[in-house]
């Protein structure tokens, strides 16, 4: 169980940051707000601000996106979705 938690840590680089900025810009409509962590609700503009700053919440958002992308590319998402029929 602790091994899975260790694998949750992601080393973030500039390329990842730019990728996630592009994803949020393209995929998050402006009528949605995200609640994540203790940071309350964030508009799309606030999400982008935090990602660009690279602060604590910005890093959490980047990690979440990168984790999803990795799970998609490894097939883990597809396998999980297929498992529910």
């Amino acid at each position: 169980m602790r091994e899975k938690e260790n694998s949750k840590k992601i080393e973030i680089n500039e390329e990842m940051k730019e990728l996630v900025i592009a994803r949020v810009e393209a995929q998050v409509p402006s009528n949605l707000s995200l609640s994540i962590g203790n940071f309350g609700r964030m508009s799309k503009a606030k999400m982008l601000e935090h990602i660009r700053k690279g602060d604590g919440i910005g890093k959490k958002i980047i990690e979440s996106h990168i984790r999803f992308l990795r799970a998609q590319s490894s097939g883990e998402v597809t396998r999980a979705l297929v498992s529910v029929g």
């Binding site: 949750k8 995929q27 995200l34 994540i36 962590g37 203790n38 609700r41 984790r67 979705l81």
Partner: protein, 215 residues
């Protein structure tokens, strides 16, 4: 041990307001299943009150709505209610569902270290959900938040209905995946964002302790 539930409903910011509104489903099902329910609203959701209530009622199922850290579960105004190396042992014989961020990373494990048949279900990542700002003043009508909060509600609801902690945990994860599929099939402008945040909750949802615990 009496069949009962203690639930915190802090409501001190937008996030906790949403969690509390969507907890109504849990409360209704508890009532219809004749489960005693002790609600800690707003400022009642503090450490002293929680400890007093748990000692007095000995209710087995605990549902925390609120913010959290790796080492703590918070109540009103983000003050810790349960904190590692302080009072985590209070959960050792309980079934706990922590709808908070990160608390399964460390506190969950600590609380189950001297496990007395208890179980901790929570998140080892920040719990996420999207809301539709159009419905900010009326969360109950928000069409987006239920995609996240209804699968989450399934954990305590399944336990209330007699399922084991393992069954509840996997029912919830299955419901998350079904909502991911629903979102992706719609292929709307928000589908990928919703799927990504749902995956975060699916990946981070963790069961620690007794998988066969029942209410």
């Amino acid at each position: 041990m009496k069949k009962g539930i203690i639930i915190t409903l802090p409501r001190h910011d937008d996030v906790t307001e949403y969690l509390s509104v969507f907890s109504k489903e849990i409360l209704e099902i508890a009532e219809s299943n004749n489960i005693l329910c002790r609600k800690l609203f707003d400022k009642e959701a503090n450490k002293e009150n929680f400890e007093r209530v748990i000692n007095k009622t000995n209710h087995k199922l605990i549902v925390f709505n609120g913010h959290g850290t790796e080492n703590s579960i918070c109540g009103y105004a983000d003050e810790p209610i349960v904190k590692e190396k302080a009072n985590e042992q209070i959960l050792s014989d309980k079934i706990t569902y922590a709808r908070t961020c990160d608390s399964a990373s460390s506190l969950g494990h600590a609380s189950m270290q001297n496990n007395k048949g208890g179980c901790f279900i929570g998140y080892s990542l920040p719990f996420q959900f999207y809301c539709d700002e159009t419905w900010k003043g009326n969360p109950a009508k928000d069409p987006v938040a239920p995609l996240f909060l209804e699968p989450s509600n399934l954990i305590p609801i399944s336990i209330i209905k007699g399922r084991t902690t393992s069954e509840a945990h996997f029912s919830s994860k299955k419901a998350i995946l079904k909502n991911m599929k629903k979102a992706l099939r719609r292929a709307d402008s928000d589908s990928l964002a919703i799927a990504e945040a749902l995956w975060n909750n699916y990946y981070g949802q963790t069961l620690i302790g007794n998988k066969k615990a029942e209410l």
